[in-house]
């Protein structure tokens, strides 16, 4: 039974998503146990990998261009080469070994979606500033940025099929199911939450667990006393040569979803590469 992380990227006019995926893959290689550190990359243009110094961090590279941008992630069940997969957003970094989370999900779940997140100070995020659609329409508070599924699961297949239908037909689904507050863009989070609600599987795919713990750096939910446009206006982001990440005065030990795409610069990539080479 294979396990691995699936990252989906596509060409974008202003963001180099491959670079973000590369940083994430390096951090996975640097921190996860053998057997729990495989990474598959789905990319619309394989040629771009030649720009990377250590493309070997991607154990599987799948060229696929049927969808644009993040819609591609809704095809994760078709794209993954693994029996057990965690599909991740690419603007994230692993800071320590979380292989035991994967072990748990492989043993106990067919489909599990992150359903809480934390500030950089380790506080549970309760502010619904970015989640009005969820609150107003009573959707489960799902975060597609960490989605575990088994490839042979009928439950997962039904869920992803419906998720794709929702993403393909956002207006129709929003009119019927999200009438209390329609999102400007019906993204993967909303689509997954709505699919879980329609299928009535919230208690199966998002039952209470202490993990996965993901620090979500959306600026307005950091429990600051003032509004913030960008978190980096207020706290620093420091990666030392050992791969230890600090945000502000807090060392990060969970998965960090840093949101601001320019945070992974060449210097950080060099640090992560050096650690990977020495491992």
């Amino acid at each position: 039974m294979s396990f691995g992380y699936l990252l989906v990227v596509a060409e974008h006019e202003s963001v180099d998503y491959l670079k973000l995926a590369y940083g994430l893959a390096l951090s996975i290689k640097n921190t996860q146990r053998e057997g729990y550190d495989s990474v598959a990359l789905v990319i619309d243009n394989k040629q771009k990998l030649s720009e990377l110094t250590s493309a070997w961090v991607f154990d599987h590279v799948i060229e696929w261009n049927q969808e644009t941008f993040w819609n591609g992630r809704s095809w994760m069940d078709h794209l993954t080469p693994f029996d057990n997969t965690v599909c991740l957003d690419v603007d994230m970094l692993f800071t320590q070994d979380h292989s035991h989370w994967a072990e748990y999900f492989i043993e106990n779940s067919e489909l599990y979606i992150a359903n809480k997140s934390y500030t950089y100070r380790g506080e549970l995020i309760t502010d619904a500033y970015y989640r009005r659609t969820f609150v107003k329409n009573n959707l489960p508070d799902l975060y597609s940025m960490y989605t575990f599924f088994k490839k042979d699961s009928q439950l997962a297949r039904s869920f992803f099929d419906l998720g794709r239908q929702i993403i393909k037909n956002p207006v129709q689904f929003a009119n019927v199911f999200l009438a209390q507050h329609k999102p400007k863009v019906l993204g993967t989070d909303e689509a997954f939450a709505l699919a879980a609600k329609i299928l009535d599987i919230e208690h199966i795919v998002a039952y209470p667990l202490e993990f996965p713990r993901i620090v979500h750096m959306k600026p307005m939910v950091q429990n600051w006393p003032w509004p913030a446009d960008a978190w980096s206006d207020h706290v620093g982001f420091y990666l030392n040569k050992y791969g230890k990440l600090k945000i502000g005065n807090y060392e990060q030990n969970d998965i960090v979803h840093y949101v601001e795409k320019d945070k992974i610069d060449d210097e950080m990539i060099n640090i992560l590469e050096e650690i990977a080479w020495k491992k």
Partner: protein, 286 residues
């Protein structure tokens, strides 16, 4: 293992911390059934002699430890209900508790923390070398606390309350107090690093930064004492009847006061003058 309470009192011309420490130390000694000791300075001792409370101090405290009065230009605004004054604040030597305590396991408390229960006695045998008040709870049913009562700064670390600190005298707690002292001595540097206001030294901040560093630069609920129930200095202690204390609580954004009373409950009373006004009744309980 010897256990006991330690407190500090350095009088200013505005606040009789010596008198407050006798009240606080006497109540703690009575309700926790352990000895108490006081750290003070010569001028405060002379005041105790002059104001005829030295004898009481000698009966309350097992040891009175004389140290040099800390040199500080710390000042802060202290309210007594609606009136307020900017007063000197001599409190910068609490990191010396490790060296000065005569006990193996010490409960260090502020002199405005009045103990009326044995709740903290549950922590004498807790297997933690250093414990500190995890937060303060406002006695008011709403929430009058500000952001800087919860964090040391807007983006900074959680604020713990050194109103109550318990520690065992060993290497771990020595490292903790050494770190507190280091933060105190390099307060401006840490203020830059942790983004807090350095203009007034606060023990709570120095202790919080030390705990954060030694916890591995993260917040940890390990090593904490219960939240400190608190009345603000805009509140007024109006009567003391045996163990029952009655307060007028200043309603936020209003001129109104709301009466409330508590009994058999430990309480941090920030309005020091209102404690001193009821010193006679409080002393009768010792």
């Amino acid at each position: 293992m010897t256990i006991g309470i330690l407190m500090y009192a350095h009088n200013s011309q505005f606040v009789d911390y010596a008198l407050m420490s006798i009240i606080s130390g006497g109540l703690a000694k009575k309700h926790l059934a352990v000895p108490a000791s006081l750290v003070t300075d010569l001028s405060t001792m002379e005041w105790m002699q002059e104001s005829n409370i030295l004898q009481k101090a000698n009966s309350v405290f097992e040891h009175i430890i004389i140290v040099d009065r800390p040199v500080t230009d710390n000042r802060r605004t202290l309210c007594d209900g609606k009136t307020q004054a900017v007063v000197p604040f001599v409190n910068s030597n609490r990191a010396s508790a490790y060296d000065l305590t005569p006990y193996n396991r010490t409960l260090l408390i502020d002199s405005d923390y009045l103990i009326f229960s044995n709740r903290l006695a549950e922590y004498w045998n807790v297997d933690q070398d250093v414990l500190i008040g995890q937060s303060i709870n406002d006695i008011y049913v709403g929430d009058r606390l500000g952001y800087n009562d919860r964090y040391i700064s807007e983006t900074g670390v959680k604020l713990y309350w050194a109103t109550t600190v318990m520690f065992t005298k060993n290497n771990t707690s020595k490292i903790f107090f050494d770190t507190v002292n280091f933060v105190k001595e390099h307060y401006s540097y840490y203020a830059d690093l942790f983004r807090f206001d350095s203009r007034q030294f606060r023990n709570d901040i120095a202790f919080s930064v030390a705990k954060h560093i030694l916890d591995g630069f993260k917040s940890s609920a390990v090593g904490t004492l219960p939240p400190v129930l608190t009345t603000l200095d805009t509140d007024v202690l109006t009567s003391v009847d045996h163990d029952r204390l009655t307060f007028l609580i200043a309603a936020p954004l209003s001129e109104k006061y709301i009466p409330t009373s508590i009994s058999n409950t430990d309480i941090h009373i920030m309005n020091k003058q209102s404690v001193i006004r009821h010193a006679d009744q409080l002393m009768e309980m010792l």
